[in-house]
Symmetry: C2
DNA sequence: CTGTTAGCGCTTTCAG
DNA sequence: CTGAAAGCGCTAACAG
């Protein structure tokens, strides 16, 4: 039964001081090549591996970042699934691992941000947390944080968000120009800030074109094909435009159009503000806004790691979506 | 500038011994209700939170489990995205968080399994790791592990896998019975064990029905619609059966069928061994095997946590997929 | 650049 | 149940 080597053993074997071993391991102080090699050799010979807890107890560094998710969120959504993967990739790229917390108890989640409470150098948090006063009361004694989404008010916390408002505004305007003023929005859960931003963009564009939006915005809580079909059947006529929150809802609109004998793209327009279904699984191909959740996660991680390694500097990020016009809004393209 | 409370402060405030505080916090020894309350109150008043590193250094427990992913794996695959989410949900359910490691260096990944190398109580590892001899050489000094996928040979490590072989065998047999012997498999990357298992199942069923499989198995490395269309066009005739690795490839087969003037379900059969596209986005609806990656991850986590908390006990798991026959294999249903 | 030493904050032991 | 004390294994400060 061989014992596990510790830093003392390595020092002894290499014939150097304990601190020298520590210095070559952490790289925080220069050590001559000769000694460095001796130390490294000794480490190999003894199959030495530093202890995480012990080094963390002194250095307070773990090379781990956390992603905090409140379990009221539906983590099965494509958004989260993509986000987690993107964050993981980017974190790994910088030599960090990603620790996922998923809890219904926000207090627990927030407490995890305290220095030393969890083995993390920093954390990615979702925007609702920012409103929590507890977060304010621990400004000084918490780890680095970056917020995902739009935080309300002023905070000394960096954030990353997608510019939903301007995206929807742009889309709405170009659709009105190509198809006219009979335009509708089938939005998702209005409690989500993303829905609020989207609706605001829609309203702004309509206002500019003298369109009264009452009766023009629907809320689909399920985000399902059924909902899309149901709402579309209520309003669909020639030259109508329907903007949907996602691809599934759009597929319902397609079904409604078929039922009404209207040709998508030619008679009516359909645009999805986000979709996890490939646009060419639709006939005619669906126009949509590319939800770049990938860069969303990546930029957030970059911001966080920069803050961990170089200290805080105010530098939040607003990302633009790419708008893809396919055959379901063909008049827009033909206009150009 | 208030200082952060430590266990000594709590003890002082509660008027008890340091060890008593520790005992109520860890729950490892009985403490009278009276004292327990005093301690808990003191914790609240002082806003005390135990230090992760310090308690880990003594107790060697973190309530964190890891998922190790080699970065040669394409983590964007639906499999991984679902797996991560399922593991996270299940881990949280038991009060654990999930730490994700994603690295190209397998040695580093394996070293992470050593006791104390990382703040983890156990780890989920992918099957390729198991073949690594380094893993064997550290049996005694590693954390608890559960393998995801089929490990070769005998190991004293529990694993969870999906029974792909029998699933494909069953599907193949019932398709032959309903449509005849002109059957094909468009498989995915043959280096993946899942592909091997699937091909084996296909071969077994064919052998039993006196079918020579040469020229009947295609390998689609891209798993794309294009590939499905390409291969299907080579072999598609009336009464042909094509089993595909996924839904995208199946959509290519649908396209090929249309080009040939063959009606899916009636003239030919299409079956997807897995698909991330909802089957009703296909017309006619696609038959498929439900890839239950969700229970896959959950069972693995359950196994791991049981091992962490109750010690190792040989109890691996083989999961069955549910086979869903829709309109694209309608003769199978009509046969019944 | 080296080597000693003092912690880091908690758990555990053991005699009272 | 208490209280003192001995670690856990490493980092960091400081005198050489």
């Amino acid at each position: 039964m061989k014992k596990v080597a510790k830093i003392t053993d390595v020092a002894e074997r290499a014939g150097v001081a304990k601190s020298t071993v520590s210095n070559v391991l952490t790289g925080r102080k220069f050590v001559s090549d000769e000694l460095r090699k001796k130390v490294l050799d000794a480490c190999n010979e003894l199959d030495f591996h530093p202890d995480f807890y012990a080094s963390g107890l002194s250095s307070r560094r773990s090379n781990i970042i956390a992603l905090l998710i409140e379990s009221t969120e539906d983590i099965e959504r494509p958004f989260y699934r993509q986000l987690i993967v993107s964050c993981l990739k980017e974190a790994s790229h910088f030599g960090y691992s990603l620790l996922l917390y998923y809890n219904s108890d926000r207090v627990k989640l927030i407490n995890t941000l305290r220095q030393g409470m969890a083995p993390i150098d920093g954390a990615l948090i979702m925007s609702p947390f920012v409103y929590d006063e507890r977060l304010k009361h621990m400004e000084s004694e918490r780890v680095s944080c970056v917020v995902l989404g739009r935080p309300g008010g002023e905070h000394d916390i960096n954030y990353v968000d997608i510019d939903n408002l301007n995206m929807v505004k742009t889309v709405t305007e170009s659709l009105i120009k190509a198809y006219g003023k009979d335009i509708y929005l089938i939005n998702s859960d209005s409690r989500m800030t993303i829905s609020q931003d989207r609706e605001a963009g829609f309203e702004e564009a309509c206002a500019r074109n003298g369109i009264d939006t009452s009766g023009r915005v629907f809320e689909s809580l399920t985000g399902s094909k059924t909902d899309g079909e149901k709402f579309a059947l209520q309003v669909l006529r020639k030259d109508a435009v329907i903007i949907t929150a996602n691809g599934l809802v759009a597929s319902g609109v397609y079904a409604a159009a078929a039922a009404r004998g209207l040709e998508v793209g030619k008679d009516i327009a359909v645009f999805a503000l986000g979709t996890s279904l490939p646009s060419d699984t639709f006939t005619p191909s669906l126009s949509y806004a590319e939800q770049n959740y990938d860069v969303f996660g990546r930029r957030a991680v970059q911001l966080l790691i920069s803050e961990i390694e170089n200290g805080f500097k105010k530098e939040s990020v607003l990302l633009e979506n790419r708008i893809i016009h396919n055959m379901s809004t063909r008049r827009v393209v033909e206009n150009d």
